[in-house]
Structure formats: structure tokens, C-alpha cells
């Protein structure tokens, strides 16, 4: 499933950091490290799943990659070119190649604009098409996402959640982007529509030759769609690897607990104990390994002292845990 990895990766992220200045903390001003030095890369035509709990920094990564926010450190390479700190016109030109689908389809369409106006917007902004050609292209896009041209002059409130998300996707692929960042595209949808949406996304990727960065807290969804998975915890990656291998035998305790939290269709096996407590505040990061206060497999005091880095554990997999370093 990891096929198509020839040549340079389409997107490569090196030591990416994003810190927000916030009020509070001991000195009245603190720095919130939402993303704290992460590396990953996606091959052309691949699909990387970025998973983690709420507050782990997943969505910040999405916004950094799409240029909605500027990173405070590290590099983002798109087709080998650094794009992290481009601003204004140069960044916007690049925006044609990287597009994003947002979490909530109900909120990400302007309620006062027709479906036509919403989908046509990127084509109008970048002055690609106008007039009859524009209408034709929008109709074609509607067909691509499985909606008909009769939706052209509807308003968002007349559509269901799944339909709206399809419109959002049509808008995102209007400029023929190479990379599509999907920020929890299914979490606002009904479960029955979720499965259809995933199937649709898979077909779309195949038809349009897209590369996906798929952000989700829903592991079942990631398992269905992604070739590779990166598990994120408190702004760091704790484990990366091919989806099948990682789901079969997670190496990091956090991945283990996260996977165990997915209900199994086997009633004989007792459910493992759930992860206790909430994710700590990124304003007060625990010393040593960031996961040690909640880790069910702490080795000893060393976990509170040493901060493990990502190390290779074979099969193209990496994990950031002292237990892996030891072996």
C-alpha cells in the first residue's frame, strides 16, 4: 500500500514549530508550543494520516501547511522548495497547489452565496476562468463530486451535511491542486454518511491523482484511507509508520492506548482500561517524556527525566519511547 514513493516527496516538513504568545503563566506572558519540532513527508500520490487527541496540534499543522498561519521555526518544503515563510502574493500563488477542506461543512460555506459562487470563487480569485467557461467548469466540478448541475444556484442551507462537504471538496479541487489537506472532513457528518464520504475521497484521490494530508482523531477512518500514519501528542510526533503495521502492533504506549480506545467487534476480549485524565496543558508541559504522566507503561523515574526522540524501530517505522531506545 506504500506504493508510488519514487522521487522526492511532494511535501516534506522538517522541525516544524509553532508557538503562540499567550497571556498567563508565571511571568504574565507565556508561550504555547502548539507544534514543537515535527518531521514528516508525504510522497506524491500518498496519503498520510495525522492522528491525535484534541489539543495535540493536528489542526495547527494543517494551517501551517496551507499557509493560514506562519510557522515560528522549521521548514516546509513543497516539491523541494521551502514555502513556510512566504507571504502575500507569492504564498497565494502557491495556494493553488495546496488546498484545504475544513472540518465543519456547515460553517465553511458562506451562507449568503450560492453553490455556484462558492465553487467558482477560487477560479475567480486566481483569474483562471470567466463567463461561460467558468459555469462549465463549476458544473464539471459538481459532477466530479457527485452532485448535479441543478445544485448550481442552491444555497448551503438547502443541502445536507454530506452534500455541503462535497461542495467544499469541489471548491478545494477547482484549481487542480496537488496536495489536499483534509482537516477532520468526516467528523461533522453522520456515521452513515461518513463511510460514503471516505469511499468518495478514495475515488477522488485516484481519479485526480491527489496527495492527501488527512487529519483526524478517528482511527477507524484513518485506517480505511491512509497509507501511512503519524501519531501526534502535545505538539510532537510519537510514532510514525505504515498504517497496517502500526495498527497491528503499535510501538509507542500512546498509540497502543489510542488504538485500544477503538471498540473492537470481538465481545470475548475484555476492553482494555481507557486512558486516564486529560491531555496536559501545552502551557505546562511535563518534563522528560511528555506522555509519562498518563503512560500505563512507565519504566521508572527515567521517564520523567529524559525526553525520547523518534528512533527507527524497523520496517520504516519510528517511535519516540525510551522502551524502544533501549532495545
Amino acid at each position: 500500500m506504500t506504493g508510488g514513493t519514487s522521487g522526492a516527496p511532494l511535501l516534506e516538513v522538517r522541525g516544524l514549530e509553532k508557538a503562540f504568545a499567550v497571556r498567563g503563566g508565571r511571568l504574565g506572558r507565556a508561550s504555547l508550543r502548539a507544534v514543537d519540532g515535527i518531521d514528516f513527508s508525504i510522497p506524491r500520490g500518498g496519503c498520510l494520516g495525522l492522528v491525535g487527541e484534541s489539543g495535540s496540534g493536528k489542526s495547527t499543522v494543517a494551517r501551517l501547511v496551507t499557509g493560514l498561519q506562519q510557522p515560528t521555526g522549521g521548514e516546509i518544503l513543497f516539491e523541494g522548495r521551502p514555502i513556510g515563510r512566504l507571504e502575500g502574493r507569492a504564498r497565494r500563488a502557491l495556494g493553488r497547489d495546496i488546498q484545504m477542506v475544513f472540518q465543519d461543512p456547515h460553517a465553511s460555506l458562506n451562507p449568503r452565496k450560492t453553490i455556484f459562487a462558492s465553487i467558482a470563487e477560487p477560479l475567480v480569485i486566481h483569474r483562471v476562468l470567466r463567463g461561460a467557461a467558468l459555469t462549465a467548469r463549476v458544473e464539471e466540478l459538481l459532477e466530479i463530486v457527485g452532485l448535479g448541475r441543478r445544485y448550481l444556484y442552491r444555497y448551503p442551507h438547502e443541502l445536507s451535511g454530506g452534500q455541503k462537504q462535497r461542495v467544499c471538496i469541489a471548491r478545494a479541487v477547482a484549481l487542480d491542486p496537488k496536495l489536499l489537506v483534509l482537516d477532520e472532513p468526516t467528523s461533522a457528518l453522520d456515521v452513515s454518511v461518513q463511510a460514503q464520504m471516505l469511499e468518495f475521497l478514495r475515488g477522488l484521490q485516484r481519479d485526480l491523482g491527489l496527495t492527501y494530508l488527512f487529519i483526524s482523531h478517528n482511527l477507524a477512518v484513518v485506517r480505511q484511507l491512509c497509507d501511512e500514519v503519524a501519531v501526534m501528542y502535545l505538539g510532537r510526533l510519537v510514532e510514525t509508520g505504515p498504517t497496517a503495521a502500526l495498527f497491528d502492533a503499535p510501538r509507542h504506549p500512546y498509540s497502543e492506548v489510542l488504538l485500544a480506545s477503538v471498540p473492537l467487534p470481538e465481545p470475548d476480549q475484555p476492553d482494555p482500561p481507557p486512558l486516564e485524565g486529560d491531555i496536559p496543558s501545552p502551557l505546562a508541559l511535563p518534563g522528560g517524556c511528555r506522555f509519562h504522566p498518563r503512560c500505563p507503561k512507565v519504566i521508572g523515574p527515567v521517564c520523567a527525566e529524559r525526553d525520547p526522540g523518534l528512533v527507527g524501530v524497523g520496517d520504516g517505522r519510528k517511535a519516540a519511547c525510551l522502551r524502544c531506545e533501549g532495545t
Binding site: R92, G146, R154, H157, C168
Partner: protein
């Protein structure tokens, strides 16, 4: 998975489309349809148009009655309604209907012009403050606070008393009737924009955090486009309602200033100065106060109903009902 993506999508269409049977149509047609659903708003619009048309057609009525609006007939002072004077005459024997219509020109003109100018200034200030935020926002909002903190009436009196000729405006222009008209429009707009500015700023603050604004940014839209296409249209309906509401206020402010001798100067009639002029004869000729009062009342109410209807018609989400 077996089967191409097209085949997989096909069954979804039927299922998803089942719930969507709302009439579509072009945006303009949808707007008309939604507006026509409000009988009160349609009636109010018709009434306002009627008053405006009658006021604009005042010279025609003059011809028809064979009597000038400023013509004084001392033999028929405070005359009751008759064929020659449908609403009777005032204390100087001027025809009341003609004065009412001509006053409508002034009052409606001043009311709508001042409300519009104030709303425009307020919207621009609010958009800039809300969207840019930070220091610009703080500065503009402190300006709004200081304007609100100024006592309205003394300020208007001082500004209305400014001698225009001292500002380098020729005597002939300063003395003309339209000068006092524009002066009122400007004065009211200068103090009236603050409400709109606050309203718009608050709306923009909430709108700019919406996901569709983020989406537009991600698509590569610049700030001007986002403001014009995404934020302004969604911020407009409270502005429209506030503006129609303020039309009534402006007409009242004009009458107050006219009462103090600083607004529209007689013999140019406005509903405001007709009303105040009628105070002296309220017991002997009450209808002189009733007619302009009624005109103000009807106009203000109609403007409010119109605002309500427009608000609903401008919002496509109300199509569901």
C-alpha cells in the same frame, strides 16, 4: 473496492437529493420572493413610495389647486377643509396639503440622506476596526466612545450656529434653502455613525473567525475580497435595520433643531418645523399639528416595517419557512 467511483456515487445522489426540494432560481428572484412574503413590508414600501411620489409631485398638485405652496391668503387663515384647500389652511392662510407635501420632500430627503451617510461612515469604520483589530481597532473605538460621550443637543446647536460665510462659503450659497438642508444632513451624520460602527465592528469580529472566511483565505482571497464578498454581505442586515430605524430618529432630530430655530428655516416647510409652528395654535387649530405628526409617525413606522422585511429578504436562510 469494486466498481468505478462514478457508479459508487450514483446511488448517493438519489438518497441525498430526497431532502432537497426547495425552489431554487436566481438570487434576485429569490430575494423578491422572500420580500413579497411580508405583507407588512410590502405595504410599508408602497406607502413610503406613495409619500415620496406625492412629495416629489408637489408642483403638480400646486397647479391642480391653482394655489402656491408659499402663497399667503390672509382672508382664509386657519380655514377648515374645503374644495380649494383639501386639508384647510394654516395660521397664515397657506394651504396645508401643499405645505405637508413640500415638507415631506425636506423631511424624507434629510431623513434618508442623513441615515444613509451615517450608515456608510459607520460601516466603513466598523469594518476597518473589526477586521484589522489591534491598535487601529482600539483607536477607532475610542473615537466612537468620545463621539458618544459628547452631549448631542448642545453640540448640534453649536455646529448649526456656525456661520458658513466664515468658512469661505459664498454668501449666496450660505443663505439658500439647500444649505440649511445639507447642514442638517451633515450634522446628523457626523454624530449618528457611531451606533452603526459599533454594530458592524461586533459583527465583523464574530464573522472573521468563521470557517468560511478561513476557507476563503486558504483559497487565496485577499483582505479586500474577504471584506467585500464574505464579511460585508453577512454584516449588512443589522445595518439595514439600524438605518431604517434611524430614519425616524433623524426626522425627529431635524424637528427639534427646527424648533430651536437652527434647523430648516421657515418659510421652507419641514414636518418638524410645521409641528413646532403648530404648537401655538394647538387649541384653536389642532389639525395643523395632527397632519405633520401623522406624517412623521406613518413614515417612521413604515421605515421600520420595511427594515424588517428587508432583513428577512436579504437572508437566504429564511427560505425554509
Amino acid at each position: 473496492m469494486s466498481g468505478g467511483p462514478i457508479q459508487e456515487r450514483a446511488p448517493l445522489l438519489a438518497a441525498e437529493a430526497a431532502g432537497a426540494a426547495v425552489p431554487g432560481g436566481s438570487p434576485a428572484a429569490a430575494f423578491r420572493r422572500r420580500f413579497l412574503r411580508h405583507p407588512l413590508a410590502v405595504g410599508a414600501l408602497a406607502l413610503l413610495l406613495l409619500i415620496a411620489a406625492a412629495s416629489a409631485g408637489e408642483p403638480l398638485v400646486e397647479q391642480w389647486l391653482g394655489f402656491g405652496a408659499e402663497q399667503i391668503d390672509l382672508l382664509a387663515r386657519s380655514a377648515p377643509p374645503s374644495a380649494a384647500h383639501p386639508l384647510g389652511t394654516d395660521e397664515l392662510g397657506r394651504d396645508l396639503l401643499l405645505r405637508l407635501l413640500r415638507g415631506g420632500r425636506v423631511s424624507l430627503g434629510v431623513g434618508f440622506a442623513a441615515a444613509l451617510v451615517a450608515a456608510t461612515i459607520g460601516t466603513v469604520v466598523g469594518l476597518v476596526a473589526g477586521y484589522l483589530g489591534g491598535r487601529v481597532d482600539a483607536l477607532l473605538m475610542r473615537l466612537v466612545d468620545s463621539v458618544i460621550a459628547l452631549p448631542l443637543l448642545p453640540l448640534l446647536i453649536v455646529m448649526a450656529a456656525v456661520d458658513l460665510t466664515k468658512l469661505g462659503i459664498p454668501q449666496s450659497v450660505a443663505d439658500s434653502g439647500s444649505a440649511s438642508l445639507w447642514r442638517i444632513v451633515l450634522l446628523v451624520a457626523l454624530v449618528g455613525w457611531t451606533t452603526t460602527a459599533r454594530l458592524v465592528r461586533g459583527t465583523v469580529l464574530s464573522l472573521k473567525a468563521r470557517e468560511y472566511v478561513r476557507a476563503a483565505e486558504a483559497l487565496g482571497a485577499g483582505p479586500l475580497r474577504i471584506l467585500r464578498r464574505h464579511i460585508l454581505p453577512n454584516a449588512l442586515s443589522p445595518v439595514i435595520v439600524a438605518t431604517t430605524l434611524s430614519v425616524g430618529n433623524v426626522i425627529l432630530i431635524e424637528s427639534v433643531l427646527s424648533f430651536l430655530g437652527l434647523g430648516i428655516q421657515p418659510p421652507l416647510p419641514s414636518w418638524g418645523n410645521m409641528l413646532t409652528g403648530a404648537q401655538e395654535t394647538i387649541w384653536s387649530a389642532p389639525m395643523l399639528a395632527v397632519w405633520p405628526g401623522l406624517a412623521i409617525f406613518v413614515t417612521v413606522i413604515a421605515a421600520n416595517f420595511l427594515g424588517d422585511g428587508l432583513q428577512d429578504a436579504l437572508d437566504p436562510r429564511t427560505d425554509r419557512r
